[in-house]
């Protein structure tokens, strides 16, 4: 296999890894905002936000890495995807702006405290919904002709993308609930435990609904799943996901093992993500733009890959260290001082 063949494959997995990290890490932070309406008062919301305050910025950086890595390795896909999904991307960015500054502003504000609490909640929900929408539009496929997008400004608007949008909101809420069980105690933890089981049911239902819809999409994204005997080879993925959901259901109410639910929501998301990546492969933009069509020249991909291989372990190292600095429960009535 020559270099121009396997490099795009490596980059497909690199970008997949970056997006997965983003979904898991910012997913739970966005989940906190989605769960904000369940906070019983302002102090509880303070407490929820404090669990993520030292680490949210690093988590969001994975989105920027996903964006710039796509820019470097598959410039064509970056250009088509972002310009075709102009309005959903705008929606996501504006929502992320409000969510992000709320972390700083809510604690500085006096009269506007409730406003920034609202900005945190609404920003998180809209950002999650927009991400689901972008995912849905991608999976539905973007018709191209000679490398140019054919659709209009609102082609992403469809029942399927609305469904994936809502599904991601609930999915992130589940991640957020798991994180809260891990990081808090007392009444707030009880709130988080209380929403976990209903969320498991809703998320499983959405996963089922989305999966059932896939064969009917024109993009045939998930055709691989049903080609020939493939399904039997790939069957462990959905089966594991289902078993994962059952374990999560049982862990939600088990006292004492507070890390269990969070770890199980993470693995649940990883399984779902693997299913998705298998389905989209080898396209970067379904139905017709393959990773080889969209790839930048090998000189670019090699140069960036070298940096990635050297720097990513270091990044993961100090990220893990910064999480360990803030390990343990975040108490309701005291900060880190």
């Amino acid at each position: 296999m020559d270099i121009a063949t396997w490099l795009p494959v490596a980059w497909y997995f690199v970008i997949g890894f970056g997006v997965l990290m983003y979904v898991l890490l910012d997913g739970f932070v966005l989940g906190l905002g989605i769960l904000a309406p369940f906070a019983e008062d302002g102090d509880q919301l303070d407490n929820m936000m404090n669990t993520a305050a030292p680490i949210w910025d690093g988590n969001e950086t994975w989105l920027v890495l996903g964006g710039t890595a796509l820019f470097a390795a598959f410039p064509k896909a970056y250009a088509i995807l972002l310009s075709a999904l102009y309005l959903p991307v705008l929606m996501m960015l504006i929502a992320l702006i409000f969510r992000g500054v709320a972390f700083e502003f809510r604690f500085k504000a006096r009269r506007a405290k409730a406003f920034w609490g609202g900005a945190f909640a609404l920003g998180s929900m809209v950002a999650a919904f927009a991400q689901g929408l972008i995912l849905g539009a991608l999976v539905e496929g973007m018709p191209l002709e000679e490398g140019k997008y054919l659709g209009g400004a609102f082609d992403w608007f469809s029942p399927f993308s609305m469904l994936t949008g809502v599904a991601v909101v609930f999915g992130y809420a589940l991640l957020g609930a798991g994180w809260l069980i891990l990081k808090t105690e007392g009444p707030l933890q009880a709130v988080a435990r209380g929403v976990t089981r209903p969320l498991v049911l809703v998320v499983v239902a959405f996963m089922g609904l989305v999966s059932a819809w896939l064969p009917f999409l024109e993009s045939q994204v998930m055709a691989r799943w049903f080609d020939g005997g493939n399904f039997w080879w790939l069957a462990p993925v959905p089966l594991l996901a289902l078993a994962n959901a059952v374990l999560l259901w049982r862990a939600a109410m088990r006292k004492g093992r507070d890390a269990g639910p969070f770890l199980l929501t993470l693995s649940f998301f990883v399984l779902g993500f693997i299913g998705l990546v298998i389905g989209i492969w080898p396209n970067i933009i379904p139905p017709s733009l393959s990773i080889w069509d969209a790839a930048s020249p090998p000189s670019t991909q090699v140069f960036t890959l070298v940096g990635l291989v050297v720097l990513l372990p270091i990044i993961l190292g100090y990220t893990a260290w910064s999480y360990s600095v803030f390990r343990g429960k975040v108490r309701a009535d005291a900060g880190y001082h």
Binding site: D43, V64, G67, F71, I80, F107, Y149, G307
Partner: protein, 469 residues
Amino acid sequence: MDALLLSRIQFGFLITFHILFPAFTIGLAHWLAFLEWRWLRTRDGKWRDLYFFWLRIFAISFGMGVVSGIVMSFQFGTNWAVLSERAGAILGPLLSYEVLTAFFLEASFLGVMLFGWNRVSPKLHFFSTCMVALGTLFSTFWILSANSWMQTPQGHELIDGMFHPVDWLAVIFNPSFPYRLAHMVLAAFITTCFVIGGVGAWYLRRGVHVEEGRRMLKLAVAFAAIALPLQVLVGDLHGLNVGEHQPVKLAAMEAHWEAGEPGAGVPLVLFALPDAANETNRYELAIPRLGSLILTHSWDGEIEPLTAVPASDRPPVAPVFWAFRIMVGLGMAMLLLAMLSTWAWWRGWLFESRWLLDGWRLLSPAGFVALVAGWYVVEIGRQPWVVYGLLRTSEAVSPNITAAAVMSSLAIYATAYAVIFGAGIRYLLGLVRKGPLPYEESPDTEGGDRTPARPLSVGDREDAHTEGR
């Protein structure tokens, strides 16, 4: 208005707001590292108070830089799809290296810096501050490399309109990069320096936080006295570099339309209203030969005039000409203030002189204005090219976005930024008004106020305490 013009306005608007915050936090991160180092060395509580004071300001500024920066990283794809597709193989890696070397470093260590005071050892906390400062420099390095490559592209070959990298060292260290990097880093430090000095002077003028005010002003004066002459030197070298690689931009900066008589040299135009339609200046006030002296370091040196290229290859002259004069004018004002203050310090009346203190107050935002004006020179001066000489801005815009879509995004961004930056600047001014507050040990045991459990801030806690008193 079409999608092209609207996209340009949008990019200009977003980058103008964005650049203010990184420019400020580059200098501020180093200032914080200095303050924490002084605290660790001397154990003088005032240094720690100053550290926490500026840390709170840093947290808000950095937050605004982060959120406005995320928008920037998607702008290329949303609005400049053709640029992204054609130059992505060059620009994408440079931006990716910025994320890998800078953004993660800053984000992870920022958490420890803001919230880890009692969770890690003092040395490790200081190390975190230094890592954040280092991150800001890495970030400046890569983003300016990318920008400079668009100004003076090299190290690539064009295949079917696509830029393919051939020599990465040539791409990264393109001809204008070293000058632009030095000029920008100094500009960022000077911007922060004048804010610090201005805040100090304001406290001295009001007679509050006097000890802290003196320390800030003295350090700002000392730094400005070194950095401003250096900046003038670097700016001069940068100008020579522009003349060599982007002569049309230099001609626009000087509103130099026609070549003069042989041997007459280039005049320095002090004031003029450039008239592009008639290719001349109205109401020109100029000093003969001084332009040659500054731009070519010789008495009768020539620079290429604007009319040497067709009108379609010239940038808009008036904004470039004026932005350049604003930048240089403010730079000279800052240089003068720095020199006068140094002299006053030496003579022993720096803190007593009302007009010097007022000068510092007045010029505290000067760095921001000069820096943005400088960027307008760089970016408007590059027009009509997005990649100088190779790809026109008009060809780089996304083909499938509509004017309506860009109009809505521009309106939404403008509204959102008005809310966010309006609130942010209010909170920043509030922090400055309050000033450095004495550090309190083990605050959790005090009075049991249920204040926000937010470590960011010693400050937040103290707000509530002050309110309670």
